[in-house]
Symmetry: D2
Subunit: 342 residues, 4 copies
């Protein structure tokens, strides 16, 4: 991949130092070097397969004032090199990124067979095409409920058998990858978006991965984490915007709705939105879901609980099955209107 | 207005100190005091017209660990005390907040009579019901074009006469209020959201005010600035979400789409959205405008320029009249679909 | 001033479009254009007096993917063009930026003659060399105490007469500049850092200006606001770091201690630090003041109140005179140790 | 541990609903319930061992408007329950938190035996009492150098043998804990601060853990992550402030110097500061290190490389041994001056 780097040298750099530096760059790397001399500054441009040039190496040189890459640092996730949309096939009837809208619905935590099967049947009836549910739960307090773990995975599979809905659930450590073999989409949570060992191992599988954006990850860092998975040969990556951390305290996070069109421009990967975690409040799920679909999201992941006040986690942001049914109707009506429109 | 304050005392507070403090509160203010004694902490609750109690006063006391107000600090802008929506009437045919969708369109800066009249006619044809345009421009560089000033106001009035579109334009200092007498909506920019003297003076008029959210203003601070205007007797306040400052650098600001349903819940004031400034990129205007409408916005304010590459300011985020026409069609189609839906 | 701009063109740009664009740039501006052709991208470099080239104009062109200025956008505030430190002379004995450390101390609000004179005498005894005090107060609530206004200015002058301490106080609107004629340092608050009209008018005076950093202003924006004042011919600008808005809620703001060495590198202007507003908590004033001095601050501005629990504003962050005396001793001991060290 | 929760009920809650809710709370939990009735709102206060009450459960109830815990959610890390400072003993001569200042110095990445031994000897001579060096490197790009891994650990041990300096190095996954058996301080990086499985496993060892603050972690979340480790029985936790993510782009991160006195007030754990990662620029290391020590840090962790321009990672922020020697002298001179002072 051709890369261009722009290097601004310090005004104090002498002609000899500049010569030495450009000679060194030429001999070390397979690049062409362009040079502009202004009155105060000299600017170098490197063109070529600068992929091997560590930008930190350049930045650490004494005569360098600043250095910038012109291109994005990701390749496999980059739409420039892969113009058509990636479609992640989950089952015969579910493909994410093919233009249709998919809703992944279900409880924050799997709590019992009865609970998960009941919710699965209900959300399916309301239009959801995938079942979400947490078996391993990342909790900020060591004293809070941490999920049913492997038993939770078994219960999800029972619910899948009962309803036919593919299942989406979160992995928390590399050693569990085998245990997730039979899961349809493996979710990487926001707190693990830069757990690079986990990403690398998932890259060695062919499993669809739902990669949540980190709490304070830039769009570029998020796509670099997708690149980690794809670099290993696994192209089945679905991005998930779930709100970012800002100074605003009214909502748990701030949904970055702009991220939807931006990642669709920069990357060919599908993007789904999690309005439940983005807001932390059930009454905000509907307007945020509507906004996400209007902005072009390929799917939504929504928390639904048959008894939110008794949910073992995240009750405050869960919809009841009745609420979900109403929201789902509006969402699909909106999607249909948008399709007619285009 | 009844207010409740929760005061947590330091574990080190002695019974005598606590007694002294509660006696003082009782004698100074017309409040009831509730007290809970835990093993480690004592908590006081103040109920009554604690409006007169300065929270900073409490917080400064030696024995106080923390103090929190339970209610919102704004009254006139608060939906609790004014449940029905405020509708701001601009002209016979334009009322903001009445359930219809209004688009304010036009150039960042007014540049010439020809320019503003041409754009006004064009955006009107495409469905805009108000004309926006800057006469006084706040620019981060003292060396950049600062607007045509009073001449710009005159040109806007000519464009209004030609098209019938009410005009929206930004004020930058208190002394100019008289000069803005004949403007239909006076805009307060993000950088002036906490220019309290300006807000107070606008409160003494009856002019509709478009109050942009500050770059790093919380929703509460934004509503407090609305309260400043309303406290003077001017209820014609329209809120405008225009993106907030976050760590993400891909967009100029991050559109906080959640703010739309939130201010509509907390307040009775109408809210419009500025997708042009929120993103700083013209290709993001459409998806962000769609998201804003789907989330419940009462209106949009969009930059349109007949020749963006030669715009004297903000060309990069301006739509051409043709682009605006296409975006406008989609927006109104979406609004219609949402109306059918509900 | 020579400026360099780097323009990256879209991969889709045709040779003809590129030619047209560079011809236009050459004819419109007095610049040299360098061009590099990569496989996927073309990069243009503009060198010359590109000062007149509006970066937004470039960014708005259809064939442009991105554009970056290489140099800082400020000139008069830039150390590159003014290598020696600016020293702002306030009185015969007080010069800010000359290597000595100055403490501006006093109450958030001026409340009475007795109060301000008593505090002034006390802080002077403890080593403060300037008196701070608010006469016009920017308050987030329209219902809170807004300061004694012009009467407050008169009381400050009385305190100055009694103690000889120069006075620092905040201006809130352009029309008040004449009223502040006899003030020693005019403070521009964080919320007015981008009140460009106010900055421009202050640039027409020769008054020392204490320019606080905006709540979410980048260092570059802050220096651009200094540039506004200096562009008018007033070089007496003192920068004041007072904490920035972040996601952390424990403190009111987050003191950006790095800003001290950074503005001293980028600019020749002196910088003082406000640990009281940065934290909002009186017990944090000492450690933050110590950190600021160790990082190279030229001065501190600290809130001191003879009766914090009854202060009309900001009591929670005010030191008592006794606390201030102890903190001041530590600060000057630290400054002395640092002087010995270097 | 006694906990107090404040629950504000919705104005719409009926007396019957309130009764039902308080009855349920009383029967489910061992708590006392206080109730205040205002005109518009009812407030409940829960006192008792509300530790078992999930705040999310309360928040999810229909009649609840908001709920707040009054106390901090961490116990073992809380100074209230452990007033004296924790001192983490690393070796006979190195104890972190005992009032002395310790500098952990060394390269970002271990690159060769020669490199690490040379740097170790050099930093020891300059006053460092611990050796830092990365064997497993978390890199944002899958194509960047990822560290020498277990070989790097071996090289660190050789350097320890040669110099006697205890070693600090980063762990990236749970399965590696055995491999880190012989390391003196195990570092948990910012990106793993909420890798709860890793924290839990480290809690089962007795190894000193250097817990870096996450890029956008609040102080409370950081202390909750310490609590995860301590809940397992490992009290040897050292906190490390390394800059947080803000909107400011001049530095890689923004050093939150206030965090030093704050965690020392809230917790009994020692705190060290990483000025190298906080700024990303070697020339900022000195002023930030000075600020950190003046604000009360127990130690510093500083990147030193014998040949920064050829460092395999983070060269731009590394000091040369000569620069480190000069900075170290200033730091210890400052520490001595502070000791005299107190």
């Amino acid at each position: 991949m051709e890369i261009i780097m722009i290097i601004v040298l310090k005004p104090s750099a002498t002609p000899e130092e500049i010569q030495l530096f450009t000679d060194k760059l030429s001999s070390d790397y397979d690049v062409r070097i362009n040079r502009w001399d202004g009155v105060h500054s000299t600017v170098l441009g490197l063109i070529g397969d600068t992929h091997t040039v560590d930008i930190e190496y350049i930045d650490a040189q004494d005569i360098v004032e600043s250095v910038k890459r012109v291109q994005e640092p990701y390749k496999k996730a980059n739409r420039k090199f892969h113009p058509e949309n990636t479609v992640v096939k989950i089952s015969d009837s579910v493909s994410i990124g093919d233009g249709s809208l998919h809703i992944m619905a279900g409880p924050c935590s799997v709590e019992s067979e009865e609970q998960i099967v009941e919710i699965a049947k209900s959300v399916k009836k309301s239009g959801a095409t995938l079942l979400r549910g947490g078996a391993f739960k990342p909790r900020t307090s060591p004293y809070a409920f941490q999920g049913l773990k492997s038993e939770g995975l078994d219960l999800l599979k029972i619910a899948r058998k009962e309803t036919g809905l593919p299942i989406v659930t979160e992995i928390m450590r590399t050693e569990h990858i085998d245990m997730f073999e039979n899961v349809d989409i493996i979710q990487v949570g926001a707190r693990n978006m830069q757990n690079f060992d986990l990403l690398r191992e998932l890259g060695r599988t062919k499993k669809p991965v739902l990669l949540k954006r980190g709490l304070s990850a830039t769009i570029e860092e998020w796509l670099m984490s997708a690149e980690y998975i794809m670099a290993g040969g696994n192209d089945n990556v679905i991005l998930c915007e779930r709100g970012i951390r800002t100074y605003e305290t009214y909502t748990r996070n701030t949904l970055d709705v702009s991220a939807i069109p931006i990642v669709k421009k920069l990357s060919h990967l599908p993007v789904v939105v999690d309005p439940s975690h983005a807001s932390g409040k059930s009454w905000l799920v509907e307007p945020l879901a509507m906004a996400a679909v209007a902005a072009g999201a390929d799917g939504l992941i929504i928390e639904v609980h048959n008894d939110p006040p008794h949910a073992l986690s995240d009750g405050a942001q869960s919809l009841t099955p009745e609420q979900f049914d109403a929201v789902s109707k509006k969402i699909f009506a909106l999607k249909n209107a948008l399709n007619v429109d285009t």
